[in-house]
Amino acid sequence: MIVAQRKNIPELLAIVEKHRKVLLLGCGTCVTVCLAGGQREVSIIASALRMAAKLKGRPLEVEELTIERQCDNVFLEQAAEAIKRNDAVLSVGCGAGVQAIAERFASKPVYAGLNTAFIGILEERGVWTEKCAACGECVLHLYGGICPITRCAKKMMNGPCSGSREDRCEVNPDRPCAWQLIYKRLKEIGQLDRLKELKKPKIWRSSQSGGCRKIIREDHRV
């Protein structure tokens, strides 16, 4: 799931400074689950924006709407009317959602209300952690399902850095050492021999260094 965080209210107010009628558009998928941009957050942020604008003596109308998925044109159609009747869209979806709106509604200003943070999971109630860096060439099968690229601060591919203390990362002691986790996990599933295999330097070509990536499935194209 994509995890995001709300920008603060003064920043949001400054973002929509030029507009009087703004559509605050939520997304019912990832950002709903990470409690950043679902229906409830839309309601809270809309109230906060209206109150902050009123305090500044600024006229601002905020319409609230949440659609199932912002990053999908089919679902975006449900917001077409509301987008049309407002001066601008303040999206509380992830970065993909914001850009999907910008592409679909070319003449309408669209702004991001969230800071999209990472691909992660809900660790416990109210705590999300990053688990995947979307590097484009998954190596999880070699490391017992624990990603050294995302979870090791130094992205070590062939064993720990020797800086870890007990089972803590030396870069941030709040974090467990990814290599400790990898070792424990491989031992548990009886695949410690995988560690004897020397891994070649990772090829980052599939990662983000070459600009935005694209996947084409000819078998599904029309």
Binding site: I9, R40, I44, S47, M51, A52, L55
Partner: protein, 148 residues
């Protein structure tokens, strides 16, 4: 010239199992508290969401009081602790917006604490009276300031 005295309007979300009962008890005991509160009974303060506090304040409530059970005494185990976290979050949000966070307060009251409830309400009313009318009201602070 006759000067109007500001009478705060406070929305009080009271838990059915404690604060609401203590308000009832206050009535039975003939304990008076200021009539500035509008009590809303909730099954548990854990039922309350940030939205509720925001909507109350946005619609012109001068203050919002959340009255839940004593810590450790929640009928639903930890509903009041959830409410406490949400109230704290909302107070931070109010600061971001530029509204005094004192307009939202959470208190813990048991069903037998009629007198403390009355004192809490009196104190809340006085706090809000000092802060003045909510700036969200049509005749709130903004308008007053622009007149002076």
């Amino acid at each position: 010239m006759k000067t109007e005295v500001f009478e705060p309007r406070i929305v009080a979300f009271c838990c059915h199992y404690c604060a609401y009962s203590s308000a009832d008890l206050a009535g039975v005991m003939r304990i008076q508290y200021p009539p500035n509160v509008r009590i809303i009974r909730t099954p548990c303060t854990g039922r309350l969401e940030t939205e509720y506090f925001m909507k109350a304040l946005e619609n012109g409530a001068d203050g919002v009081l959340v009255a839940g059970c004593l810590e450790g005494g929640c009928h639903f185990v930890e509903g009041n602790l959830c409410a406490k976290r949400r109230v704290n979050y909302t107070r931070d949000l109010l600061e971001e917006i530029g509204i005094e966070k004192e307009r939202l307060r959470m208190v813990n009251i048991s069903a037998a604490m009629a007198r403390p409830l009355a004192d809490t309400i009196t104190d809340m009313v006085e706090t809000i009276r000092k802060l003045g009318p909510s700036p969200m009201k049509p005749n709130g602070k903004l308008k007053q300031e622009s007149c002076t």
